[in-house]
């Protein structure tokens, strides 16, 4: 039984929902077209032996649509086969089903993704911030959150000023037109005119996006 065989097994079960498996450096990746179905796919994957969830990762495809990608890295402990499931989530929705009932380790992974990126997991019983403090207003791993940080006006919380090193002395970006674009001291995407505006113009939902550069905020407590 190889990873490709397992991938085809998943594809056979779900048909058009799952794209053809791709291989890179010996790792098999399956793209799931509809994020709403990720729970069903994961539950099926577990039933054919993928009992170990290694990791869940979120990726911010800032400037293109759909904005979020969530990647699940699965492993079958019995025979050591690994497979990656990927699905896209739009910025408007920013929500997909939780896989917590399939693997309990998903609990903290999903909380971390919510904390860092602001993607919500429906059905998660305890979706709180985990690394940042309760009540922190931003999602720091988003590409439009500047590396230097943002001041927040929460009373009594330490370190709310932007960082004194202005993002550190070693921050570089490969490529770019000139040395300023390549090695900016503080990159604040909203004011980073050249590159930022080009990205915004490239977006399909450009008008809507302007007003909501930061996506949906934290869940309101009821």
């Amino acid at each position: 039984m190889s990873a490709l065989k397992s991938a085809n097994q998943i594809k056979a079960k779900f048909g058009d929902l799952v794209a053809e498996p791709t291989e890179f450096r010996g790792e098999i990746t399956l793209k799931i077209a509809d994020a709403e179905k990720i729970f069903d796919v994961c539950a099926f994957a577990k039933s054919i032996g993928f009992d170990y969830l290694v990791d869940i990762t979120s990726i911010d495809n800032y400037g293109s649509d759909p904005r979020w990608t969530v990647a699940y890295h699965l492993r079958a402990i019995g025979n050591g086969i690994e497979i990656r499931l990927k699905t896209n989530v739009s910025e408007e929705k920013s929500e997909l089903p939780s896989v917590l009932p399939v693997w309990r380790t998903a609990n903290w992974h999903e909380r971390e993704i919510y904390d860092m990126m602001g993607i919500r997991f429906s059905g998660h019983p305890d979706l709180r911030r985990i690394l940042m403090w309760e009540g922190y207003p931003y999602f720091p791993l988003r590409k439009d959150f500047p590396l230097a940080g943002k001041p927040s006006d929460l009373p009594g919380v330490a370190f709310t000023q932007i960082s004194p090193m202005e993002g550190g002395p070693f921050v570089t970006v490969a490529g770019g037109n000139d040395s300023i674009a390549r090695e900016p001291r503080v990159r604040i995407p909203e004011t980073d005119s050249v590159e930022f505006n080009a990205r915004i113009e490239a977006r399909a939902d450009n008008k809507e996006a302007r007003g909501r550069a930061f996506g949906p905020g934290p869940i309101e407590k009821k």
Binding site: D51, D55, G80, T105, G168, T172, G175
Partner: protein, 423 residues
């Protein structure tokens, strides 16, 4: 003038019944106890909110993030090579192992992880195994001290000091080693290094034996550890535990055996497995792992290509000007090397677009790096799968039912480090 007072004295059974009615609210009341974030038994800045019924824990809610520095965000904003020093600060008890894990992850993206020079592979394995011993020693020392056995701590810290000396001899730094580079090592080990390692192994065997005589059959130690914090096989897999914690539950999974990388295929060692999955098993597995690491180190000292002094000048880095820095002499005398040096330093190693995940068997468990690249010298997304973070997530299920005095034992047996958990 005498007054008569009516005093009602009920029999004891009636009194108890009346008192029970009054105390009903008090008896059912649970106490919430905050433990940490700066508690000596939490090994760093872990906070646990415990709900207690008397001395028994009914609910535990671990709270992490006090050491969050945003390593993943930082990684997106610098070249692959610039991030190496940040990996020192993940699991700061085993920086050498983190360096090796990160370098291998980027090399996998480049497609050169199985084309590394043999000497580089052996030195990396030795680094990883020394780091494993060092991390387990600290874990064991702190574990024993939290349980009341201070002597073990002194023994293990003496031995750790020697490992720091070895790290210093190899990399020039004791803690923040940053010893690996993408495609190889910062430099070769000094000619006397293998002898120093052999000398260390000789002394360490004695000390480990001494620590074992102090603990393994110690009545108090066994009584406090046995049948406590039992993690079943299914539960360990479900919670994604890794490393010694997974193996203590009897799951035969070691990345060095199951997905061999570097030169682990050529080395002879056994994987330690537990049977019950309690704290005592986790202790035993770590003890055995240190012995196996000694075996690996011994073999590496004998088999290292080029020998200890590297008289045949075996390379320790990939010979590719687009990945590793050329020698300074060549940079100053040759145009091509000068260009390579300039491009590597300013733009970083040019990685192909794509995504890879590489898991490394670190002392605490599987340290994985998921790299999503759009091409160029910086990652688009770098996710660190921190074993301590995932191992801690089981606490909410493991602690309820334990006594308060069991908490340091369970924490010590899980052996986590917050620098890695919070990233």
């Amino acid at each position: 003038m005498a007054t008569v007072q009516d005093v009602e004295i009920r029999d004891s059974a009636a009194r108890t019944a009346a008192a029970a009615e009054e105390l009903q609210d008090v008896q059912g009341e649970k106490m919430v106890l905050n433990m940490g974030p700066s508690h000596p038994a939490t090994h760093g800045v872990l906070r646990i909110v415990l709900e207690l019924d008397g001395e028994v824990i009914t609910k535990a809610d671990p709270d992490v993030g006090y050491l969050h520095r945003g390593d993943e965000k930082i990684a997106e904003n610098m070249t692959y090579t610039q991030f190496i020093p940040y990996t020192d600060r993940l699991d700061y008890l085993a920086p050498l192992a983190n360096n090796v894990a990160y370098a291998l992850a980027v090399e996998k993206l480049l497609g050169i992880h199985d084309k590394l020079p043999p000497r580089c592979q052996y030195v990396r394995v030795m680094c990883a195994e020394l780091a494993r011993i060092s991390a387990h020693l600290l874990g064991l020392g702190a574990f024993a001290m939290d349980t009341g056995a201070v002597t073990v701590f002194l023994l293990t810290f003496t031995e750790r000091e020697k490992i720091y000396n070895l790290a210093e001899a190899a990399s020039g730094a004791r803690l923040t080693t940053s010893y690996t580079r993408i495609g190889g090592l910062m430099r070769d080990v000094p000619p006397t290094w293998c002898d120093q390692v052999r000398q260390f192994l000789k002394e360490f065997a004695v000390a480990l034996n001494e620590a074992e005589t102090l603990l393994t059959r110690n009545r108090i130690w066994v009584d406090r550890l046995r049948d406590l914090g039992v993690v079943s096989k299914a539960m360990a897999i479900d919670y994604g535990l890794s490393g010694p914690n997974l193996r203590a539950s009897g799951v035969d999974w070691d990345l060095r055996k199951n997905q061999p990388y570097l030169c682990y295929k050529d080395l002879d060692f056994d994987v330690a497995l537990g049977s019950v999955g309690d704290c005592y098993d986790r202790y035993l597995v770590r003890m055995e792992e240190m012995k196996q690491s000694m075996r690996i180190l011994e073999q590496c000292c004998n088999k290292i290509p080029g020998g200890a002094e590297n008289k045949s000048h075996e390379p320790v880095s990939v010979q590719d000007g687009k990945i590793t820095l050329p020698s300074k002499q060549k940079v100053l005398s040759s145009m091509e090397e000068l260009i390579h040096q300039f491009m590597l330093v300013t733009e970083g190693v040019n990685c192909p677009p794509g995504e890879t995940y590489f898991g490394h068997e670190n002392p605490k468990g599987e340290l994985g790096f998921y790299i999503n690249s759009k091409g160029g010298g910086t990652p688009n997304r770098l996710k660190i799968r921190a074993p301590s973070f995932i191992n801690l997530s089981i606490l909410g299920e493991l602690l309820p039912g334990c006594m308060i005095s069991d908490v340091p034992v369970v924490l010590g047996s899980l052996d986590f480090v917050m620098g890695e958990s919070d990233r």
